[in-house]
Amino acid sequence: MKRSRFVLSVLVMAGLVLTVGFPAWAADVIKVGVIGPMHFMQGKGHWDGATLAAEEINAKGGLQVGKKKMKLELVKADSNEFLSITDATSAMERLMTKDKVHFVVGGFRTEAVFAMQDIAMDYKKIFLGCGAAHPELCTRVGKDYERYKYWFRVTPMNSIYLVRVCLVNLATVNGMLKKELGIEKAKVAIVAEKAVWIDPMIKAIEENVPKMGMELVGVWRPSATATDVTAELTAVQRADAQIIFTIFSASVGITFARQAGELEIPAAFTGINVEAQKDGFWAATQGKGDYAVSMSTFVRGVSYNEFTEPFIEKYISRFGELPTYTAVTYDAIKSTLGEAIEETGTLDAEKLIPVIAKAERIGVAAAKSKFDKNHDLVFGPGFATGMTLQWQEGKMRAWWPNGWEGVTYKGMVPYKIPPWMIKKYKK
């Protein structure tokens, strides 16, 4: 009895010494913190994209860091940032001090990312942003390079470029209406949900529509969760709008597309409709969502390069849905970080930063990606552009950039004007 107790004590002590006393065991893994609102689709995208990247890297034995192979270990951190900025900063601090991660990817809500960015910079850890679009996050790098150099925005394009793409899309649709239907000065209606982040976009579009040779007939702001927008659609129809510029991020996007289809509103769509980026959109609109348009990052069957399509297929087979832009944590880990680590043979942030900052990488979310001097994602032909989708005959298709500045991606189709609009305006 005494002997067995002695043996048990020795085993317990040995266990304690080995687990507590030799943290060097953990030295052979690269810890990457994945931070995001994990109970929301944005955070799920962060985690799923990172999971795929880590699985692929680990399946090859890990990353070559100098002379040894190191596997990747992901640490999930729920930032809860939609509900609490305090939670977001505590989660980031936990990643830094408790989990002792080497790198962090993720973040979504700009206000929270500002606070999280400061914490990552305090600890001099590379933080690859994969969600917040505000330019100021990168402007900080330019203003105080030594402090903020650890920050890079991997996705999405900053909001200035997003507005630019919106306007390019608008001009493209306008050109098409002129060519196909002979509409010389198209009338534009803006229908945008009531949300604060949309206000500056509306301002920019209002300013630019007359300059682009079009006429603005009004701005309608239904609730983000409206279940009936027939009043707005009727008003838009009475205003004789020929282009409807939508900006929706919530469920009103489904209501709008369904009712516009039911009422056969004679107008062409452009803009953003986040719900239309999802596979379930067609079913949600009860088969009435044709011609709805949205900017997006991934569309099934459309490739920026040879890596996009296999990634999309693998993602769908693994997680059962189309990846959204927060899933570009895949690129952040696999190409931005992974390739830089293998090239430098180190995990030292100071040595990695110049390499990440200068390199051009081929990931899955752009033809090529590189960063500008403020560590912001470069937008333009040959680099990140995103794509614009349209639902056509129950299928999600991509129609932009189909020839814009010479850029065309494999699998794109032309934009389609709704037949009831053609019927009304075709001379």
Binding site: M38, D78, S84, S90, T97, F114, A115, R140, W197
Partner: protein, 346 residues
């Protein structure tokens, strides 16, 4: 040497007779000591961060109790004071380059002004109507924040503020010292003549007025005092987080304060402070079970309030102490006779 000895003996006697006789006072003493000496044991930055935020929110919760718990002026928009304090401190720091030791108290004063501004129209309202009206004020301020983004930073808030101090440890001592100091001041206010009038206003305002007391003045005083302490906590939060944003004004912030105060026990000051020190770290601890975090949090609060309707801390206090039916002095629960008047304790 003889005088020093005399005073030391006197101090010991007072300590023995006033503090050690009641478990609740011993717990408070231990609470002070643990907070003061904790960094001797550990300076883990994550733990210190949690305790700094806990201290800041403890000031906020106690300030709500000062207004709503004591005077019965049900405030469902306490985030207004917090947000005004945070934004004022942030803007003064960023544009006028006033360091935190100046911007935080000025944030508190701005919140006093906010307290007066909302206090005056709210004086005519009571109960549900007052609660709903106060709920609207932070929402109105949020509208203003979004209406003038060039000043307030709009949805991004005001970021890049100066730190409270140069180190996490100093931040800790600043916030803990302020929390202990301000809480003591709030507690002293509630036990003073003014505090008794606050109590009386809650119980029967007409009776207080009949006694010739200007209740309007006292209610405005409660709004202002509560605003000041909440504004201080807002300023501290802004400088610690280095950002003041619309999240500071969200409805959830106002309701969280109410949950803390009710969980801990209203009209006590120590109740809301204790509640924050239990619930805020608990929510962090529950990160280990992220899927069940909010569910477990809600369950704990529901069960506590079901079995302890007056709040956790008054319940604990009543378990470990008894009040003398004759002289109303509190005694340790194990005593059978009052320590002062020797009356039999039930």
């Amino acid at each position: 040497m003889g005088i020093l000895g005399f005073y030391l003996r006197k101090l010991y006697t007072v300590f023995k007779g006033e503090v050690l006789v009641l478990p609740s006072r011993v717990i408070v003493l231990l609470f002070f000591l643990v907070l003061i000496f904790l960094p001797v044991v550990t300076q883990d930055p994550y733990l210190l961060r949690i305790l700094i935020l806990t201290s800041i929110f403890a000031i906020l919760a106690a300030s709500w109790d000062l207004l709503s718990g004591f005077t019965g002026q049900m405030n469902f928009g306490h985030a207004l004071f917090f947000g005004v304090g945070a934004y004022t401190a942030a803007l003064l720091n960023l544009h006028a380059h006033i360091p935190p030791w100046g911007s935080v108290p000025l944030g508190g004063l701005a919140a006093v002004l906010a307290g007066l501004i909302i206090g005056i129209p709210c004086l005519r309202l009571k109960g549900t109507y007052l609660a709903l009206t106060t709920l609207a004020f932070p929402i109105i301020l949020m509208g203003i924040v979004f209406a003038i983004p060039d000043v307030t930073g709009g949805e991004l808030g005001v970021s890049g503020l100066a730190r409270l101090s140069g180190s996490r440890l100093t931040d800790y001592y600043i916030t803990v010292a302020l929390m202990l100091g301000l809480s003591t001041i709030m507690w002293k206010i509630t036990t003073s003549h003014t505090g008794i009038i606050f109590h009386a206003i809650r119980e029967d305002e007409v009776a207080v007025r009949t006694a010739g007391i200007n209740t309007t003045r006292y209610k405005l005083l409660a709004f202002s005092l509560s605003g000041f302490f909440a504004g201080i906590s807002g300023g501290l939060y802004a400088h610690f987080m280095r950002i003041a944003g619309p999240a500071n004004l969200e409805v959830s912030m106002s309701f969280t304060v109410v949950i803390w105060a009710i969980f801990g026990g209203v009209a006590t000051i120590y109740g809301p402070i204790g509640a924050v020190f239990i619930l805020f770290p608990l929510l962090e601890f529950l990160h280990f079970w992220p899927e069940y975090r909010m569910l477990m949090f809600a369950l704990i609060i529901l069960l506590t309030l079901l079995y302890m309707p007056n709040g956790l801390l008054p319940w604990v206090r009543n378990k470990i102490e008894k009040e003398c039916p004759r002289c109303k002095i509190r005694n340790v629960a194990t005593r059978s006779a009052c320590r002062v008047c020797t009356a039999a304790l039930d």
